[in-house]
Symmetry: C2
Subunit: 347 residues, 2 copies
């Protein structure tokens, strides 16, 4: 019999299941995984297929990393901070309060050793991960009443999850964990006083402005949340090098594409929300200062007992210091001039 | 004889020459083309090779698009505004004064129909192009004397090229076209009074701070310059779909990677420049306002005789208006709070 030609062996058929932590209704975040899948399929002539499943179809959204770690599915598309309860180090791969913004996260990931540092940690979880999306700075959410000072946060029942909940507790907020679909009725009934979600485009679809009109900014707990594709370490090692390269490139495409998509959609949604009665409000300065202090206390507490968290946080902080100095020069002054022209009706 | 197996035909050996418009010494910009090449090679198991040549080795930097259009080389890595003299529409694929910033360029390219609009135009030049890099907001350059008002620009001999030169002429500046290596001696001798280049990382290497210490910002003519990979249209059509997909993904990787690289390197270079005597100065507000006015006059003049330029500029302007409204909310307030903490020594 004729042996299979060698070239056929370089393009094996590989089909992976990728569980998303998001529902299809979050079309921008969910869509980034589909974009990644589409590119990977095209680049490999249809030989490497990533089947993307919405949260809950194979695995609940908040169990995605566990399922990948156990090898139940080969990969997931998720926000690493969902798993901070297993180890707070996960949060550093996504966003922590007063962390790096989207561009700075990319600089740190791709040039500051961030991907490698995170993957040293992820390897202990049987995972390897690459950035695969970003939302940009999120909003601070929807509130039934105005927040005029840090005093107004005391006893506020707010739907806010993860590591941010741990920080905002120190300001007297009572964090609530509520799934996406249950937030609107809870807010309408007054079971909760406030909720955070994402930003204008995603928030508009859930209609919060009808029951909690005060729309605060900025979301200080999410300055540049990175979404990740997490892969089972053994499955990654089995991939031919060309498929590894295709998947890495697919992750970069998803990373860039998601932020571009939000940046395109949010301005229209913001105008629509305001036209429909949303009341835009900046968080008072004393709230931001108290939150910054509370975040730093939390980092000190976590770092005292977790050397990996400490090391990675210090790496991000060192860059944050210089990056926010540099950003005050060309970037800030260009954008502020353009904003002044927008306010003057000249754009 | 045995026919070649079908699978072999899906992975033909293809070798392209990519002429860069940049020297190797601009390692971040030049390096983005190498990153693109590396990814494309890995993703195709070494079957699709992009050989990257620095400016001048095959083709002079400013003739890159012509060489690709003529099929002398298959592709180039360049800044489309270099070719504005052939048609000002080229500049809209890179940067125009007071244009979109880097994130907004991506949103417009990938979601606002920007890539397709530019490619309708590029097709008339026998080209197809994809974004493949960005520098972020550039600096306004190095000046031997301080600029205290728009009056100080009258008669100023400044090395500044392209479409920006056309605009800045209206303020009385005398634009000079000088190749990279000749700028320093011209500035030292006083043959020119000022020069613009890129940003802290690239500028530091040329040592301008020693002979023109006033380092102004922001570079209002380059708010988010997009670098592009331009491809000969017929050569593109000949590529197997998988190689087209790999090249498109390689361009996205280069796009994201270059900005991340600059964002990582610029902060350190900025600090080093200031330590070595560079005097940071914001451009006076009257200069920015006069330049904004001059840019708008230029756009009106060009648009009057060029329907394609007009259509694409209006598309960018419509997005710019909304994007700079939206940017004033979450992004601006997050970054400004972080900058205030940087200034207070709290980061």
């Amino acid at each position: 019999a004729l042996a299979a030609p060698a070239i056929a062996q370089t393009a094996p058929k590989v089909t992976w299941r990728v569980t998303s932590s998001f529902p299809k209704s979050l079309d921008t975040i969910f869509g980034a995984a589909e974009t990644m899948s589409k590119y990977v399929s095209e680049m490999t002539d249809g030989n490497f297929t990533l089947q993307v499943f919405p949260a809950g179809e194979l695995v609940p959204g908040l169990e995605a990393a566990d399922a990948v770690s156990a090898g139940t599915v080969e990969a997931c598309h998720t926000v690493p901070y969902y798993f901070w309860g297993k180890d707070p180090t996960y949060a550093l791969g996504a966003a922590v309060p007063f962390g790096l913004n989207a561009r700075m996260m990319n600089a740190w990931f791709y040039y500051g050793g961030g991907i490698d540092m995170m993957n040293e940690f992820y390897a202990t979880q049987n995972l390897i991960a690459f950035p695969a999306g970003n939302t940009g700075v999120q909003m601070a959410g929807w509130y039934r009443k105005e927040i005029n000072s840090v005093e107004d946060l005391k006893g506020l029942k707010m739907r806010i999850g993860g590591f941010a909940g741990k920080v905002i507790e120190k300001l007297g907020v009572v964090p609530q964990q509520i799934a996406g679909g249950d937030i609107y009725p809870s807010l309408e009934k007054g079971t909760i006083d406030a909720t955070e979600w994402v930003g204008p485009y995603d928030d508009e679809k859930l209609g919060f402005y009808k029951v909690a009109p005060y729309y605060y900014y900025p979301g200080w707990w999410e300055g540049g949340p990175a979404i990740a594709t997490m892969i089972n370490l053994a499955k990654w090692a089995e991939l031919p090098p060309a498929y590894q390269a295709a998947l890495k490139a697919g992750c970069v495409v998803a990373n860039t594409d998601m932020l571009a998509s939000y940046d395109w959609k949010n301005p229209t949604a913001l105008k629509s929300l305001v036209a429909n009665g949303a009341q835009l409000r900046p968080l008072p300065q004393d709230v931001l200062l108290a939150a910054f202090e509370a975040a730093n206390q939390t980092y000190a507490e976590v770092s005292a007992g977790n050397a990996t968290f400490k090391k990675i946080k210090e790496s991000q902080d060192a860059f944050r210091r210089d990056a926010y100095l540099n950003a005050q020069i060309a970037e800030y002054n260009y954008d502020v001039f353009m904003m002044s022209q927008q306010q003057a009706g000249k754009l």
